[in-house]
Amino acid sequence: MVVRFAGDSGDGVQILGSEFAKSSALNGHDLITFPDFPAEIRAPVGTTFGVSAYQIQFGGPLVLTHGDEVDVLIAFNPAALKTNLHSLRLGGLLIIDEGAYTPRNYKKAGYEGDPLEDEELAKYQLLKIDITARTHEAVDAMGASKKQGDRAKNFWALGLVYWMFGRDRQETIDWIKTKFAKIEEVAAANTGALNAGHAYGETMEIGADLAAKPQQAALPNGTYRAITGIDAMSLGLAAAATCSGMKLAYCSYPITPATGLLHGLAKFQAKGVITFQAEDEIAAVAAAIGASFGGALGITGSSGPGIALKAEAMGLAVGAELPLIVVNVQRAGPSTGLPTKAEQADLLMAMYGRHGEAPCAILAPATPAECFQVMLDAADIALTYMTPVIVLADGYIANAAEPWQIPDVDSLPDLKPKFHTDPEGFHPFLRDEKTLARAWAIPGTPGMQHRIGGIERGANNGHISYEPENHQQMTNFRAEKIAGIANDRPAITPDLGPSSGKLAIVGWGSTYGAIHGAVNELNKDGKDVAHIHVRQMSPLPRGFEELLRSYDHILVPEMNMGQLVKLIRAEYLIDAKGLNQVTGKPFKVGKIKQTALDMLEN
């Protein structure tokens, strides 16, 4: 079941959505939510570029995407209708707030005439309710001002959908109480609106005809919370601090959509996280590197333009062989591009976007919840191999939410680094034979003074060295160190489908849900298709070539013009085909499925 709320930025759509999501989870559904913010902070009321939307798919046994097509669309004003109608499936339920469909408003949205008169709408089940008026009816008596009444209409709509999907209102009522504890009349108005919406639904028997009742989730027992990717990253980093016993220094400069990580971690300051809003992205990565030099786990995060600025300093971390995590919450580029839209077009920059031979490890979470574990893995790799690790998330993963089973804190891995303290025979480029990690002695350790930097170092003494053969050797070390990570980590296996066969659809990052959904459907249709999802982009995972070779065809859907597909082709000379889309929007399951079917036919 896919529900989409859309209204003006001021309509409280995001609150409405997230309350509904919480209730869906409490009702035992699996779910994925996706808020769709406007690019402007607060565009003039009623304009199309000021429309804010929130989409949720809930049900079971597994929900993989926020849904290709919407079953129920609630459009609070003409601008919301204009920009969102295309997402509604034919025959879907369209609820509109009649009170907002004035000529002034539909002209602002760019309609010539009254959109509700348009024949186009005949394709849907249209339900016109004057939500604004109904809300005022319910709350005006409670002492709320006109403005407060206007603002409560999102709760009225929430009450309505609660009725439609048989939800309990108590959690939300409690939440309203806490949230608006200081402004009693607002709390009262919101609760009143919620109840009124619910009663309206009940009276009018709205939604009784909604096709299939959504299924329950097939999730294991445990304690859950709904989590966005960005929050899962913050928590993953907090966990890395606990597991490593280290200080965590997150140094960043605000940028959409990475800023949430700074906000999230700043909230943890009192628990022991250091956050530092630097003057720019270069200072941010430099400070993170300084923190790592000082024996903390230095982390920086940004999005495309900011990551591009960090390239030079990341090279320093490669040369100095210091642990560092660089989170790139990708957005659509080039340049400023579409800052609020998602894209996966920074993979090759992550691989190659530094001067000289400067290999890094690169990980990419596939889902919001996975971000937690990926951050622990990133910390583990950074500390074990003394290397920068790039984490490639994107605007979709960052903002989308899904249920996440809260892990047992005691079962988290031990990430404690081995700091060197014995001066005997020490130099900073002594290497661990197995991992090739260099020896890490941190400032303040008696007797271990040494100097590192970005100039090439002698492999045998750690001093500056301009020797030709030494440069070759150190370059080899740096390359082998990263390549060697694959040996210590799990071999790749398909996420779904047969481990050999006709077609493997290979993805990475946020295309997970769409690919998984498509392969699921294809398998159900008896098609010999597998889903392979790469989370370890550099080094590519163990067993990847063999696995790929066990299928006749390889399809690589990416929200870019073909980047992973290039790596696969260059690395293995396998004729993988790309399915590419750069529209700032996630793939639809249907598109991937259709492409796969076409490939299977040929």
Partner: protein, 339 residues
């Protein structure tokens, strides 16, 4: 450390790779001497630098050293200090490193008042890249990138630091082996960001840019040591003095011949931004260069302020649990598989 340290304790086995005659030699010696006098153990000291001749510094000081990338040393050092506040952190760079590519990081390190000792080795030229003019080169500087002479108005490090809100600013020179350690000691003692501009001679690309400063006799004529609470007197015979006209901010020279200078010269006040600006801005043929602690007016440093608001602790499992369970949670406890 209890036993008295010497400059040797801060000397590495690395062969120095500066040009023979470079002013940096004297500076490294003065720094070693200062460190020994301060007496912090070498293992509790860190030197961070960018790139340039000056930025080679860490190799020659036996401490923890990080030779980073061009211009970013103040930012790297800020992160280092935040992560490891007990360290005694020194940052060294040239005029290009600190004021050209690194100007913004210096501005923000000074403004934030992070407890760093920042040494700006100013030779008014890009030494390492073979002699292009720098942001501190005097107008008209002929260099390979300005063969007709530069037209930029130079940055004045002291004036810049005042504008940036720095709370400790000092100046000395490579040629002042006794003065320099004094100033460095003061900088170290100042809690917060301390900027020390050290006039340095690049014998290869900008020899003599600081004029008579290099020469013992002329130094006394061409520079004035400003000392808090003392009248601004200078000259080999202490026969000259400076008087600040506060309304215009202009400084003029007075002579013993016209009456006792010690009585007439303005008494220097290192907590006064007016005086600091006035002596930083002095210009003209005869005007001396101000050296010494030009400005010192401490306010609480960044980390102290931060830790007052948010005391630092290491995150433990209970903290983590709190975070993981924050926000709405729900528990699933089905006996059998859902439908």
């Amino acid at each position: 450390m209890n036993q008295q340290l010497t400059a040797k304790d801060f000397t590495t086995d690395q062969e120095i790779r500066w040009c023979p005659g470079c002013g940096d030699y004297a500076i490294v010696n003065a720094v070693r001497k200062t460190l020994a006098q301060i007496g912090t153990s070498p293992s509790d000291v860190a030197f961070v630098s960018g790139i340039g001749c000056a930025a080679r510094f860490p190799y020659y000081i036996d401490s923890y050293g990080f030779h980073t990338v061009h211009g970013r040393a103040p930012a790297v050092a800020s992160g280092l200090k935040l992560a490891n506040p007990e360290l005694d952190v020194w940052v060294v760079g040239g005029d290009g490193d600190f004021l050209s590519i690194g100007g913004n990081h210096l501005l923000h390190a000074l403004r934030r008042n992070i407890d760093l000792n920042l040494l700006l080795l100013n030779n008014a030229i890009y030494g390492l890249t073979k002699g292009q003019y720098s942001p501190t080169s005097p107008p008209g500087t002929r260099s390979p990138s300005t063969p007709a002479g530069s037209v930029d108005r130079p940055a004045n490090a002291v004036q810049f630091a005042l504008g940036a809100g720095a709370r400790f600013i000092a100046r000395s020179a490579d040629t002042l082996p006794n003065h320099l350690p004094e100033v460095l000691t003061r900088a170290h003692a100042h809690k917060g960001a301390s900027l020390v501009e050290i006039l340095q001679n690049c014998i290869v690309y900008n020899d003599g840019v600081w004029g008579g400063m290099a020469d013992k006799t002329t130094t006394q004529e061409l520079s004035i040591r400003v000392v808090h609470g003392e009248p601004m007197v200078f000259g080999k015979e202490s026969d000259k003095g400076l008087v600040i006209d506060f309304e215009s901010g202009n400084v003029s020279i007075i002579h013993e011949a016209d009456g006792p200078v010690a009585e007439r010269a303005t008494v220097y006040n290192e907590t006064s931004w007016v005086m600091a600006n006035a002596v930083a801005r002095m210009e003209g043929e005869d005007m001396p260069t101000a050296i010494g602690v030009i400005y010192c007016d401490p306010v609480e440093d960044y980390i102290t302020s931060l830790r007052k608001k948010i005391p630092f602790k290491v995150m433990n499992k209970d903290d983590l649990k709190d975070l993981l369970y924050a926000g709405g949670t729900w528990t699933r406890d089905e006996q059998s598989d859902p439908e």
